[in-house]
């Protein structure tokens, strides 16, 4: 499957963020987004384990076991950071104080249902903070591969895997396209360089409406 690398997907997602926004990054591709923000950015990153205002993932230097993101990766703090316990952290999330969450997904449905925590045939799954984020944040952006490793669509009429939450996804950024979830269905807004709208439609198992100003992603 052609289209964007994981890094370019993270770069495209980073373009959705503005200074002053409070943003929570899920595990996987979303985590990479912090690497594509300008060094002097004014985005406040929130980690559900109780940190507001962290910065890049830290690859070297002494390990402080209490300075980690929600994926358990060591991070650096930025000026103006604060700490709080898990109850206050999820109060922030459920209470609508986090502007944007960027989450990975297994499947997304035509009306924005999200499935991202369990593949029953492989046994189990872990819920983590995903359900709270999906219900609580103001805007939910999903960053995922458009299809599975063996080419099956992940954007479906309805999800086959256990749901994280109903009608929660606002924007989808995949390796092939940028798709907005609207009241009228899925709106194809951008295609990846070298990818045709027809190719996106063929890889999608739900109706796609082409936006009047459909264009190629600027990266």
């Amino acid at each position: 499957m052609a289209g964007l690398t994981r890094e370019l997907m993270a770069l495209r997602v980073a373009r959705e963020l503005r200074d002053g926004m409070v943003v929570n990054l899920g595990i996987g591709i979303p985590t990479l987004v912090s690497n594509y923000l300008p060094p002097d950015h004014g985005v406040l990153l929130q980690a559900e384990n109780g940190i507001l205002g962290y910065g890049a993932i830290r690859d070297e230097g002494g390990f402080d076991p209490n300075l980690i993101n929600a994926g358990g990766q060591r991070i650096v703090l930025r000026p103006g950071a604060s700490f709080f316990h898990t109850s206050d952290s999820f109060g922030m999330i459920r209470g609508g104080h986090v502007d944007v969450a960027i989450l990975g997904a297994l499947e997304v449905s035509a009306r924005g249902d999200l499935a991202n925590w369990s593949i029953p045939e492989r046994g189990g799954g872990s819920i983590g903070g995903g359900m709270d984020l999906a219900v609580g944040v103001r805007r939910l952006i999903v960053a995922m591969e458009h299809t599975t490793h063996d080419g099956r669509p992940r954007i479906l009429e309805r999800c086959s895997y256990p749901l994280t939450a109903r009608a929660c996804v606002d924007l989808l950024v995949t390796n092939l396209a940028v798709i907005e979830v609207t009241a009228d269905g899925l709106l194809l807004r951008e295609v990846a360089p070298g990818v045709t709208p027809e190719k996106v439609e063929a890889a999608t198992a739900a109706p796609l409406v082409r936006s009047p100003d459909l264009r190629e992603m600027a990266l």
Binding site: I51, F83, T86, S87
Partner: protein
Amino acid sequence: MMVGGFVSAGTPTNLIHALKRRGTRELTAIANNIGFGDQLDVLCEDGQIAHMITSFAIRASTSKWSRFEEQYHRGEVTLELVPQGTLVERIRAGGSGLGGVLTRTGLDTVVEEGKRRIEVQGVDYLLETPLRADVALIQAHRADRLGNLVYRASGRNFNPLMATAADLVIAEVSEIVETGELDPETVGTPAVYVDRIVRCDPIEVRLEGM
């Protein structure tokens, strides 16, 4: 039993190892995650955990199973998966005399199964019940002799909440100071919640997937 910590942050690793040496069995454990290596999973080596209430337990696919995952797939342990925000709020309700939690988290998902839906002001919520424990094992940075605890950075996580919701609260700390030496402004858990303090050198927790 509740066990504080979030992967490497605020995990009472020394207390977990002590519990392993003691060999207590048939435990019901409530914790954010089970982890690998030096976390709660070490209690699964000798099958001490019978039931787990947690947010992170079973990965969908992995090259290496934790002991808990092995025992879960063999049907030797039971598991209640709880969304993280709901888990911590159920603990808070248990510790603060509230009858439950009304949350939209989990609506229309498997989390809703067997639970009541309550409508408030035209919006549906799930009713989630309080959680309490006989014992909470928690970790903090510093304690005074009265039992006040001070945390560091994201070492807070579940620890201050669990301290309120168990009959016996045992805290592992790096340092114990005289009463009066902690700044009252920085106390994260007031002394009333803490029954035992154990000074330990922290054991480093390795991350091997979540």
